[in-house]
């Protein structure tokens, strides 16, 4: 398998219709709890792998679509597991695992057309994959060799954003630009349950609704913001936030890749058609630690994890493929081979990622360089060169490299 061929999968081939979304999304006044999603949840595939229908969200896929969705889920999880292992082995400084959120990311990522722009947090490895970013490039940030390994414009996939919520405004602005351009592109902004408390996210709702911008707010409610449960952020289901701003909100089973795909497509279509923003709450669960630095045993119960394991997004797709006869053992074996190849690519590439040149500290601060910074750089270069066999062997050799510039 060529790694490249495993990437770049945009929305599957079949002509797929999502339910038409009216302005008034289903609303209840029930109070959210962290383990039950309530009756308002859109689902097309049960945890047991049973295909169900939903009055508002039809989804008509080919067998090939179903298989490739499953394959993406497996590959994305495999990258995540590999990266987690690389962190444990000291190759990455930290890793923010998406474990458990594969369906939310692949389902929404696959709903995007090439012209659609995605604004991620730091956890959207699955979306990045769907947008054609080589997962290896994601590792640079976590290894500490760069702040971003990809050019956002190459993939219509923004920089990872760590300052919680800030990207939702960028997404809204970008969508306002699309509107001015008069194209049919749309934007998707990813954020977590915790992020909904940030002023920026709420300002994004204001701007998006006032300007009717073609943006989909995609909230992965994984029930936790590090150690804080959902109840620290809201006392009602999160998708209902949208009604306070006058735009539709919908809660989808975030572990159901089909439902997420259908709901996201519908929301994107809505945006393209000039109907403005939609809030999607993908109801899911962070199966791992917040990041590899975190210790969730300090704040949550193992039993919660057990409950959610039963809702695993991969298992249910696998069950459905098997039950429906759309895939056989050879298919599953093939997917494993692809996953192994991708993991090997990621591992090898990661370990071989070179440390950056110390003088690259000064690169790219400005689009139009300044004399002051050039001076500072020159002074530092001279300083580095001053170590003939000084204590800073690293800097020393680096300076030599730099001297060649």
């Amino acid at each position: 398998m060529s790694v490249a061929s495993s990437l770049g999968g945009q929305a599957g081939g079949g002509e797929v219709a999502g339910g038409l979304m009216g302005r008034a999304a289903p609303e209840t006044s029930s109070v959210a709890t962290s383990t039950t999603a309530g009756p308002e949840l859109v689902q097309l595939l049960t945890p047991e792998g049973e295909r169900v229908s939903h009055p508002d969200y039809a989804l008509d896929l080919t067998a090939e679509d179903y298989r490739s969705l499953y394959r993406d889920l497996v590959l994305v999880r495999r990258v995540d597991v590999e990266a987690t292992a690389l962190q444990r082995q000291g190759e990455l400084g930290i890793w923010a695992a998406l474990l458990g959120q594969e369906a939310a990311q692949v389902g929404s990522g696959r709903a995007l057309l090439p012209g659609d722009y995605a604004f991620p947090t730091y956890r959207e490895h699955g979306v990045a994959y769907c947008k054609g970013v080589d997962p290896l490039k994601l590792l640079g940030l976590f290894r500490g060799v760069s702040h971003a390994g990809w050019d956002p414009h190459d993939h219509n996939f923004g920089l990872y954003t760590i300052v919680i919520g800030s990207q939702t405004l960028h997404a809204t602005g970008y969508a306002m630009g699309i509107q001015k351009d008069g194209t049919e592109d749309a934007v998707i902004a990813y954020f977590g349950d915790g992020a909904t408390s940030q002023g920026d996210v709420n300002e994004a709702f204001v701007f998006a609704t006032v300007f009717n911008a073609p943006v989909v707010f995609f909230c992965q409610n994984n029930q936790w913001a590090i150690s804080e449960p959902l109840e620290r952020q809201t006392r009602i289901p999160l998708y209902q936030r949208a009604r306070g701003f006058g735009f539709p909100g919908v809660r989808v089973d975030g572990n159901d890749v089909l439902a997420v795909l259908a709901v996201t497509r519908a929301a994107l279509r809505n945006a393209r058609e000039g109907n403005g923003p939609t809030f999607i709450e993908a109801f899911t669960y962070r199966m791992g630690a917040h990041t590899t630095s975190d210790d969730p045993t300090r704040y949550r119960l193992a039993s919660d994890l057990e409950t959610w394991k039963l809702k695993d997004p991969l298992e249910r797709m696998k069950a459905y493929l098997v039950r429906s006869g759309m895939a056989d053992a050879a298919f599953f074996a093939g997917v494993e081979v692809d996953a192994d190849a991708l993991a090997a690519h990621v591992r090898k590439g990661c370990i071989e990622m070179p440390d950056p040149d110390p003088l690259s500290i000064f690169d790219g601060v400005y689009a139009e360089p300044t004399a002051l910074l050039a001076e500072e750089r020159a002074r530092f270069a001279a300083y580095l060169s001053s170590f003939a066999d000084g204590p800073q062997a690293d800097a020393d050799s680096a300076a030599a490299t730099a001297g060649g510039r």
Binding site: P152, G158, T172, G173, G177, D181, T370, A371, L373
Partner: protein, 326 residues
């Protein structure tokens, strides 16, 4: 060539920028029909339409955050922050997002966003309407920070800021909005990031920017007229980040004395950086330490106290006297 006010000059510069490039947008609170509380965007919405001159919701973080998104889409937004004291809600978007995105993207993603901020005191306003927050931005790598002091600079500098591919924080001296000068639009301006000697002199260098340039010039005139007949060289810094130190160092090496003037509090104000750098570069030329005249290290006081709070001709001359007493 009619005399033009500084406010009008910015307006003309914006108009020119919008005519030259359809990607230039103006956005902010009340910039549309009202034309801004200082009328700096007067008439622009009428002529360029609501799609290009955007009255935004009342949220500064939202203004800058969406401007970043628009820039990513290929636009050149010019954001107006209504008054200096209202820029802080946008601080994260400015220092963590706007300033760092080009660097974070390894130079792939330019952010041509201009943020206009009317700044400084002297207009008898209530609290939060008279602040000088430039150091908060100049300390932030990735931003460029400039301040204009007169209509001619205002016109050319805003045009230069808009076409620049880096984010520019553009400070306008609000109490000089109504001062006039002849403006020749066909002149060739100096580069945006350059300082200018606005009055040559031999005995002491006065550094100023924005509203204090006129104050410095008045001080220089008074010093020349006084008994001692001191010849002060006045430099309008124009650019605060990056600093243009070339004319500054040349001047101080010649005069041996330097006074920096700004409205912002002295503690960690621009004067501190200038003093430190000039001292390092001109250590053997200095006859006296670089002295700083600025706002006191207090919040901006009620307006009936601002005359006492703000540096004026006398406070500048007092510092000049001190410099000569060393």
């Amino acid at each position: 060539m009619a005399p033009t006010t500084l406010a009008k000059a910015v307006n003309m510069g914006l108009r020119k920028a919008m005519e030259s490039d359809p990607k230039v947008l103006v956005m902010g609170e009340d910039v549309g029909k009202l034309g801004g509380v200082f009328r700096v965007t007067d008439g622009l919405q009428k002529d360029f339409g609501e799609a290009r001159v955007i009255d935004t919701p009342l949220a500064e973080s939202g203004i800058v955050g969406t401007a970043i998104g628009l820039a990513l889409r290929g636009y050149r937004p010019v954001c107006e922050i209504q008054f200096d004291g209202f820029v802080y809600p946008a601080y994260d978007q400015i220092v963590s997002q706007l300033a760092k995105m080009h660097y974070r993207s390894q130079g792939t993603t330019p952010l041509p966003v201009t943020i206009r901020i009317p700044f400084g005191g002297g207009i008898g306003a209530v609290e939060h309407h008279s602040e000088s927050p430039e150091a908060y931005f100049a300390h932030t790598a990735g931003l460029k920070v400039v301040a204009c002091s007169n209509p001619v600079d205002a016109y050319f500098m805003i045009r230069q800021a808009v076409v620049a591919d880096d984010p520019v924080i553009f400070f306008e001296p609000k109490r000089r909005y109504w001062e006039k000068a002849e403006l020749d639009e066909s002149a060739t301006p100096p580069p945006l990031h350059s300082a200018t000697v606005v009055r040559p002199g031999d005995d002491l260098t006065v550094l100023a920017y924005g509203p204090m340039v006129r104050t410095a010039l008045e001080a220089a005139a008074a010093a020349a007229a006084a008994d001692e007949g001191r010849s002060l060289e006045v430099i309008d810094l124009r650019t605060l980040s990056p600093l243009d130190l070339v004319p500054v160092l040349e001047s101080v090496r010649r005069t041996g004395r330097c006074v920096v003037v700004h409205e912002a509090p002295v503690f960690l104000g621009m004067g501190s950086e200038l003093a430190a750098r000039i001292t390092e570069a001109c250590f053997y030329s200095l006859e006296a330490p670089v002295l700083r005249v600025g706002g006191f290290d207090t919040p901006y006081p009620p307006s009936r106290l601002e005359e006492a709070y703000l540096p004026d001709l006398d406070r500048v001359l007092d510092a000049v006297d001190h410099a000569f007493a060393f």
